[in-house]
Structures are given as C-alpha cells and as structure tokens.
C-alpha cells in the first residue's frame, strides 16, 4: 500500500531518514531501516573531517527543535567506507549527502562520493548554521543553485536532489532553476533559521547562537514550500520538515511530495517513529479507501 517509486528506485514506504539526524554510521542507518524507514540519508559529508561547533548543538521542547551542529562529519574517505558498509548489510535505498564551499568543490566531492553505492545524491546547499565560515547558503541564490547543479550533473550519473531552504522567499522559483539546470529531484526543506535564549544565562543557548528550527513548528512552513514547488516543477520532491505523524506524512504527499523526510520526530517519538508513522499512514489510508500513494499525490492542488 505504501510502496513508492522515486526516480525508478523502489522504496518499501516513502519515509526516508532526513540528513543530520542519527545517520553518522552504517550501523545507525541500518537500525533506522529495521525501525521502519523506507530509505536513509547519510549525515552530510565534506571533503575533510569536521568536528562541528562546540555544545550545546541541539535542544528541543514541545513545539520546536533547534540545532547548530556545524556539519560535523568524518570526511569523504571515512564517509564512503560507512556508505559501502551500509549497502553490504542493507539493500534499502541510500541517499548520499554532501556539502562544500564552492561549486568546483561540490562537483569534485560528487565525483568522489559517486564511487559509493548511493542511489540518490543530495546536495546540501542550505545549511543555515555555518554562515561565519561559508557565507550565505547557496540555496538563497538562483545563480549559485544553477551553477552547482550544472557542474555536479556534468560529473556524475547518480540522480541528484537539491536541498533547498525555507529561508528563501522564492523557493518555488529556486526549485525551477534547479530543475532547469538538470536536477533530478528537490529536497524541501532544510531547517529555518532561529534562536533560543536562556533567561538565567542571559544568552543564546546554542554555542553558535543561531540555529535551524525543525520539529512541529517547521511543519506548516515545509508543507507550504512543498505545495508551491509542486506547482513549479515536474521532478519529484522529497518533502521534509516537521513530519511527526502518519497524518503529517499524508499531508506532505497530498501537497505533492514523492518521498517524505523524517528527522526531528526521532526526538519527539523515539527512534522507532518510522514504524509508528507507517502504521498510522496505513490506518488512515484504510479508513479513507486510499489504495496507493499515487492516488493522492498532489491531490490538494487544483481545487477551487
């Protein structure tokens, strides 16, 4: 009932682990599949290892989750070893994720990671938490998105998905630009910029001061972005941002998503949240006589 095909890759269900939550090691990603996900996205990898920001790097409350991890990762060499190990122990679809400081480096890194058995390559152009190091995210600029997409597509055969930011006011236009430049899919969205302050400490809680907001507060923002992008492009959308329940996941699909990214829900409902969402989706689909996700994808559009 939940079987989904994205870019001709079969997924047992549309839920994929979003990049940056768990997903550091092959073993951790394998556990997410055992816990019910249809696929996984590795935590974004850079050329050299990075330790990320000092703590606190994450905090959560009932309404939002906030993080500024600072893109810590073991570097491309160690990262590829984890990706290879994952495919050795698990046949589920694997989405690679990379980030870099320039278009050239994106293309170079894409070429390196393409030797790993990844099914889709996500380009993280939209991390809001490394501004002091890398400047404004590429995902705010149509020309940067176009250039990085074109240069990366020229180097690799693996389908690529461009991860966009809800901070951009014209995300649908930017998705269109990515599509025109050859992107195979759009991942929407990354976290939206935010901050938390500890009153007693009289300062921001995150060491990086600002961070990215996810969790329940992000969901309606992400849903609108996916809805707008669906009207602008023909390529599939990995709808990500604040999905907590089976009902949320179905809303994403009705807005037009093909796959549904799940991340912070691990904080709210535990690592087995994937299985819970699958069960909830199945239950609602039975109640509503929905036979397949194809029946309802984008169904919320074109209504007077």
């Amino acid at each position: 009932m939940l079987k989904t095909s994205c870019l001709n890759i079969p997924f047992a269900n549309p839920l994929v682990l979003a990049s940056g939550i768990l997903g550091v090691t092959a073993a951790s990603m394998h556990k997410i599949i055992r816990d019910g996900a249809g696929g996984v996205t590795v935590k974004s990898i850079s050329k050299a290892p990075r330790t990320g920001h000092p703590n606190p790097t994450m905090m959560g409350n009932d309404t939002y989750f906030l993080n500024a991890v600072g893109l810590s990762n073991p570097g491309i060499e160690n990262g590829i070893a984890e990706l290879i190990q994952f495919k050795k122990i698990c046949p589920a679809p694997l989405i690679g994720s990379i980030f870099a400081g320039t278009a050239d480096e994106f293309a170079e890194l894409a070429e390196l990671i393409a030797v790993a058995p990844i099914d889709i390559l996500e380009l993280d152009l939209s991390c809001p938490n490394v501004g002091r190091e890398f400047g404004e995210p590429f995902a705010y600029s149509a020309s940067a998105i176009g250039r990085i997409t074109r240069e990366t597509k020229a180097k690799v055969k693996v389908p690529i998905s461009i991860k966009l930011s809800p901070n951009a006011w014209n995300i649908a236009e930017l998705a269109k630009m990515a599509e025109a430049a050859g992107a195979d899919a759009i991942t929407a969205v990354n976290t939206v910029s935010g901050m938390a302050i500890d009153v007693r400490a009289r300062r921001p809680i995150l060491h990086n001061k600002q961070g990215g907001v996810s969790g329940p507060a992000l969901f309606p923002i992400a849903l609108k972005c996916v809805y707008d992008i669906y009207e602008a492009v023909k390529i599939p959308i990995i709808g990500t941002g604040g999905v907590m329940t089976g009902e949320d996941a179905l809303k994403m699909i009705m807005a037009g998503a093909t796959l549904v990214g799940v991340g912070s829900a691990v904080y709210y409902r535990g690592a087995d949240v994937f299985g819970k969402i699958v069960a909830e989706m199945t239950e609602i689909m039975k109640q509503e006589n929905i036979g397949s996700l194809d029946e309802i994808r984008g169904v919320a559009h074109g209504i007077m």
Binding site: I21, T25, A27, K31, P54, A201
Partner: protein, 262 residues
C-alpha cells in the same frame, strides 16, 4: 541553571561539585553540564541523595578546566538525568570494578545497594598510587560492603591491576548470585567483561562514547554493529549487549565520527 553549592576535594586532582537539587537519578545515569560560551558535556553522577547531588570530576578538557576555576555560587546549566542505570537487586553479591572517574557512579550504586537491599558488595577500585584512590573511605563506612584496592605502585592493596583480583573474589562468593558492574577505562572494562564471560556470571558495563546531544538524536554515540545509542540504550548495558558490541574494546569514534582504535 543551578548554583554550585559547595566544592570538595576528593584527591589532589579530583573535585566534587555539589548542587541543591533533587535530580532523582539512578546510579549509572549522566547529566549534561553546560558552561555558557565554553561547551556542554556529559558527566556521570557520583552522589545523589534526593536533596543534593554531586559530580566528581577530573580537570582534563577545556570544560572541566573552566569548571575548576568556578566558585561556590557560580551557575552552570544542568540537564538530565539521561541514559540507563545499573540494576539494583536483592540477594546478590555485586563486584563493582572502578577505574578513575568510574568510581563515581559505582560509589553511588554501592550506597544505594547498602541502603535499599540485602545484597553484599565488593567495591573494587584501582589507581596508580594510594593518594589517587577514590571513595575508599566513603565506601568503607557502608554496611555489607568490602573495599578492595589495587595500586600500580603497590602503595595500597594489591600491586598491579584491579582486574587481577576479580577471579579470586568470584571464587569466594560461594555460589551466591553475582553481578560484576564496571565503569572506567574501556580496556579495563573489557577485562571485566571477559572475566564475566569466563566465569558465566552477570555483568553490567558502562560504555562511554562521544556524545553531542545526550538524548538520542545526533547519532554520534551509536555503536557497531547494531547502531545502539549509548546515550539512550546505554551507557549501562548488560553482558549480552556488551558482547554484541563489536567495537567495544576495539575502537570508538571521535567528535567528527572517525574511528579511533585503542
């Protein structure tokens, strides 16, 4: 944010920082301690009597060194407690095996066992020399508790490693149900686990891995090959789980996620 209520010296290099707060923790759990502008890291809990709790700390990194500069009345951020705990069972002989800071949670475990069960305890603690032994006097006061000591230089107790005396203690327990509980350097813990396997007795091991969030989201503390999170499914795991962790005693991952071999 909690104020430091008092600071006591445990030995020349180790201090305990006390807070007036009912943490309601179980032995083996940890808190995240935040010094704004510096860092936030996990610390095990050495004392918790529901009126106050104490964290027993060596000054080893930037955060703990900064903590050693703080005074009574200064405030730090505390969240938690997090993670799994050692079991507290009746009719059992516990052999707790501590190295270094591991004496903290095992000291708290031993106190709870003495206060709430009929179980007996061999509290085993090792150090390089007698002046560095932690909680020897604190444990010596407890009922049905025997302190066993080893020092590398022979200045107190057995000369050598604390793990040398474990088989002897197991033999002496005359068929009573035994639990080996250990916390300390991983290679010491691995010897304790090996000893438990060899003698076929229960074992509970506190496994330390680099943590960012402490609450099961960042994935930094996941262990191979099952991907268990040591902040949620650990740090304290039973013998079967410890045996299933292939990286235990072999390697761990650093702050970036790269493997570091022992």
């Amino acid at each position: 944010m909690l104020s430091i209520k008092k600071i006591t010296d445990e030995n020349p290099f180790v201090k305990t920082f006390w807070f007036n707060y009912n943490l309601n923790s179980q032995p083996g759990q940890f808190v995240m301690l935040w010094i704004p502008g510096i860092d936030q890291k996990p610390f095990s809990i050495a004392y918790d009597d529901s009126a106050e709790f104490g964290l027993t700390i060596f000054a080893v990194g930037s955060l703990s060194k900064k903590l050693f500069e703080l005074r009574v009345g200064d405030r730090v951020g505390i969240s938690g407690p997090y993670g799994t705990a050692f079991s507290i069972q009746n009719d059992t002989h516990y052999i707790t095996v501590a190295g270094g800071y591991g004496a903290g949670p095992l000291g708290l475990l031993t106190e709870r066992l003495a206060a709430t069960t009929n179980s007996t305890v061999d509290f085993c603690v090792g150090a390089r020399s007698a002046d560095l032994l932690l909680f020897k006097d604190r444990m010596a006061k407890l009922p049905h508790t025997t302190v066993q000591v080893a020092t590398n230089d022979g200045s107190a107790g057995h000369t050598g490693f604390i793990t040398d005396i474990l088989s002897g203690l197991i033999q002496k327990s005359h068929g009573k149900k035994i639990i080996l509980a250990t916390c300390g350097p991983e290679l010491m813990e691995k010897k304790v686990l090996d000893c438990a396997n060899k003698n076929n007795v229960d074992c509970e091991v506190s496994i330390e891995r680099f943590m960012k969030c402490g609450f099961g989201v960042c994935g930094q503390c996941c262990v191979d090959p099952l991907g268990l999170r040591m902040c949620m499914e650990g740090p304290v795991v039973n013998r079967a789980t410890a045996n299933s962790i292939s990286e235990f005693g072999n390697y761990h991952r650093d702050k970036s996620g790269a493997k570091i071999y022992y």
